[in-house]
């Protein structure tokens, strides 16, 4: 076989990743099976959204994700790194216990990412940071 398969059109099932903007926070909800191509597409989309709109925070909700392997782990880390360059903080929210245990065993601890128990806590985390930044005497 020549070349690498899998870079053709993806998401053939009409599957898209919902990306919502709430104020200056981008909420990305990942759910179920995410093909490699879709994950890479998502990475580009998010970076584009951050640079177009004045987003200061990105929350990636992965509570609906059953596995995170090193590929998706890399994509998540890169989204965070890209966002940081554009002055936005990324919070990974809602990781399931089984996924967390597996990632640690895999050797992937995602040190550059902020984490939160769920979306609400993630918003709080971003909100607190903003207030601290603005409101400290």
């Amino acid at each position: 076989m020549t070349g690498i398969a899998g870079h053709g059109p993806v998401g053939g099932h009409g599957f898209t990743v919902p990306v919502l903007q709430l104020g200056d926070v981008l909420l990305v909800t990942l759910q179920g099976e995410l093909h490699d191509g879709m994950a890479e597409q998502l990475q580009q989309d998010i970076t584009a959204r951050i640079s177009h709109s004045r987003v200061t925070g990105v929350v990636i909700d992965i509570s609906g994700v059953e596995i995170v392997d090193s590929f998706l782990g890399r994509v998540l880390a890169e989204i965070a790194a890209g966002a940081k360059l554009l002055a936005a903080r990324t919070v990974l929210a809602g990781m399931r216990p089984a996924v967390a245990i597996t990632l640690v065993e895999l050797g992937l601890t995602l040190p550059g990412l902020w984490t939160a128990l769920d979306v609400e806590r993630a918003m709080e985390l971003l909100g607190v940071t903003t207030r601290r930044g603005e409101g400290s005497p």
């Binding site: 929210a93 990781m95 216990p97 967390a100 245990i101 990632l103 984490t115 939160a116 128990l117």
Partner: protein
């Protein structure tokens, strides 16, 4: 087809024993039902004991018919392995050790041999001796089968109890709003560390915890493997958005950790559970003060 002389001589005896077991199955079962093994297991009804006796006798007949008197893998035994296992396990629960169970099985030999002897007009004839010997071998094999079944049933029991012990030995306690703790007591091996990690992470979700305290005051030694497990737990908790604090590192253990060259640098530590809780509370803006100072604290709070 050439059959060796020995086999040619032996097989008829095995068949004889098989035929005897079939023919006298009812009597054997009735006698066995009164033997200690059956009587103490089937305490509710004698019919059950007789039924079990019939099954064992039928299995022995099948084994004898196959000529494999001394083979514990003979397929005939499969039919009763489960039942024997259950009987042996039930005896083990009432405190009888494997030796005791084996002796009870051995006691089944006598009633059966008596019946077999009675089959012969001349109990001292060589044929009679040969048949009794064959039955003795068969009963000896049964004893081995029971022993083996008992041991594996015991192993399963031990494995299950170990799991249960792990669960019981690692309760996750909610100390405060958003703060959970696991007081670890005893040796931490891989299996237990896994249980600790899973229960702690589940508790983080259930209690929506921001802080999780792993207290190792009751852990006798910390080697590099244990340290690694602790660090994994801390890392997994962090991925879920909770901060993990390891407390109760006794001076001797602190020394060991330093000697082993283990870097716990990324792990937040406190010397006692109380200190860890105080840290978690202060991070959440909760202050603990003596009652008399409450007025002052309230004043301070208005700022």
């Amino acid at each position: 087809m050439s059959v060796s002389e020995e086999n040619a001589e032996r097989e008829p005896v095995a068949y004889q024993v098989s035929a005897f077991l079939e023919r006298r199955r009812e009597q054997i079962a009735q006698r066995w039902a009164d033997a200690a093994l059956f009587r103490t297991v089937f305490t509710v009804s004698r019919d059950e004991a007789v039924e079990a006796g019939r099954a064992v006798a039928a299995a022995l007949a099948a084994v004898a018919a196959s000529g494999r008197l001394d083979d514990i893998r003979a397929s005939g035994f499969e039919a009763v392995r489960d039942q024997l296992g259950r009987m042996a396990a039930s005896r083990a629960r009432t405190g009888t050790d494997p030796d005791g169970v084996a002796n009870e099985v051995a006691a089944l030999r006598e009633p059966a041999t008596e019946l077999l002897r009675a089959e012969f007009a001349e109990p001292d004839a060589p044929e009679a001796h040969e048949a009794v010997l064959a039955l003795t071998v068969l009963m000896g094999t049964l004893r081995l089968v029971v022993m083996e079944t008992t041991v594996s049933a015991g192993e399963e029991l031990i494995a299950r109890q170990r799991e249960q012990l792990h669960e019981v030995a690692t309760p996750v306690i909610k100390l405060w709003e958003s703060t959970v703790a696991v007081p670890l007591i005893g040796t931490l091996d891989s299996a237990r560390s896994q249980v600790v990690m899973e229960s702690l992470l589940d508790a983080i979700v259930a209690e929506r915890a921001r802080y999780a305290i792993l207290d190792i005051t009751g852990v006798p030694t910390v080697d590099s493997l244990v340290a690694q497990h602790l660090m994994k737990t801390v890392a997994a908790a962090r991925l879920m958005g909770a901060e993990c604090i390891v407390s109760g590192i006794r001076p001797a253990i602190a020394q060991t950790i330093v000697h082993l060259g283990i870097d716990l640098g990324t792990v937040l530590t406190r010397s006692s559970l109380a200190d860890a809780l105080a840290y978690a509370l202060s991070q959440q803006g909760v202050e603990i003060a003596p009652l008399r100072a409450v007025g002052a604290a309230a004043d301070a709070g208005t700022r």
